[in-house]
Symmetry: C2
Subunit: 201 residues, 2 copies
């Protein structure tokens, strides 16, 4: 049985919910009370010393970090479409997983935490990172439908939620036409699931 330590408003959790649904994998959600501080409890820190969601428990195998959970599900359950055997293709996916872990987390995701939950952040730095990464992604998508392959890959899923949630961080994502068209391709995927706050046309 797959259990997802989950928080409904987390974009990092949403990328996992999305892949689980695209792969038609049944799972149970185990909500973590982030606002109540459960992620700092000693029980939770045993599961994930970083005190973050999501965490995946697959029959006792515990995996922290949203990018790592994508890798696990793709490799174990996704087949060649989701976990290609080619080293260059894998590396291109890995590069976007790094972008998700760094620029997306420290740009649009951080601006959303500030605007939506009131966390004190360095707004100028987060805006600078956001402008840079949105420009790069938009140009990347000018000549192709998906970030890496001819079809959706982990790269797309890893950076999708916090770009589609960017309006909650005060970002005018509608100004990026190629990103908006890519949102529409993602939301048309069979098995797509939404979450509150995602950009809609």
């Amino acid at each position: 049985m797959i259990t997802l330590y989950d928080m409904p408003l987390s974009g990092n959790c949403h990328k996992i919910r999305l892949l689980l649904s695209l792969l038609a994998l049944p799972y149970q959600a185990r909500p973590v009370d982030l606002l109540g501080g459960e992620q700092r409890s000693s029980d939770y820190l045993q599961i994930n010393p970083f005190g973050q969601v999501p965490v995946l428990d697959d029959d006792g195998l515990i995996i922290r970090d949203s990018q790592a959970i994508l890798v696990y599900l793709a490799k174990r359950y996704g087949g060649e479409q989701w976990w290609p055997d080619d080293a260059y293709r894998l590396a291109q996916i890995a590069a976007w997983l790094s972008t998700a872990a760094n620029e997306i987390a420290n740009g649009p995701a951080l601006l959303r935490v500030h605007h939506k939950f009131g966390r004190d952040i360095d707004i100028a730095r987060a805006q600078q990172i956001t402008a840079k990464v949105l420009d790069i992604v938009d140009r990347q998508l000018a000549s192709r439908d998906w970030l890496v392959s001819d079809s959706v890959s982990l790269a797309d899923l890893a950076i999708y939620p916090y770009l589609a949630l960017a309006p909650e961080g005060g970002i005018d994502i509608g100004a990026y036409a190629n990103i908006v068209a890519w949102f529409q391709r993602i939301s048309a995927l069979p098995g797509y699931v939404p979450m509150p706050g995602l950009w809609q046309a």
Copy 2:
């Protein structure tokens, strides 16, 4: 032929130099003049729109991002030791690659950029991230020699350079005994190469 777009003082470049050497792969280094701003030139942005080093060119296949280059080299040249087939093992490695891309980059690596190169940063945030990740890594290494496997893995290489360079960011890394013992295991690996500024006993 493998070409590494390189900067001698970059810890992200060093993790690639280290894996290339551990794998005994010949390569040529192509220095990038970061202090002179070459990474912002239009020629360089064609190679890596993020304007960062390292970049790997393997007979025309261009890979950006230090974690992605580790993945590429491990998958293409490293065999099962460096690129395990097991999904859970891969996911554990991927989790540390995310930590390298996020907490290590925004903690110890950023403090070093501030102290060594004078960049203006949010010092308190970088110190907070650093203290948290050093504590987690030190406890992880209390009961094991390597972060993920029974032998060195990409997880170790991905986070090693900026921890061993932490003294250049004003961090007393010597206070973390398990991390220091792990430094010594890494520097004893056949093919290990040093770089200026790395922690030494």
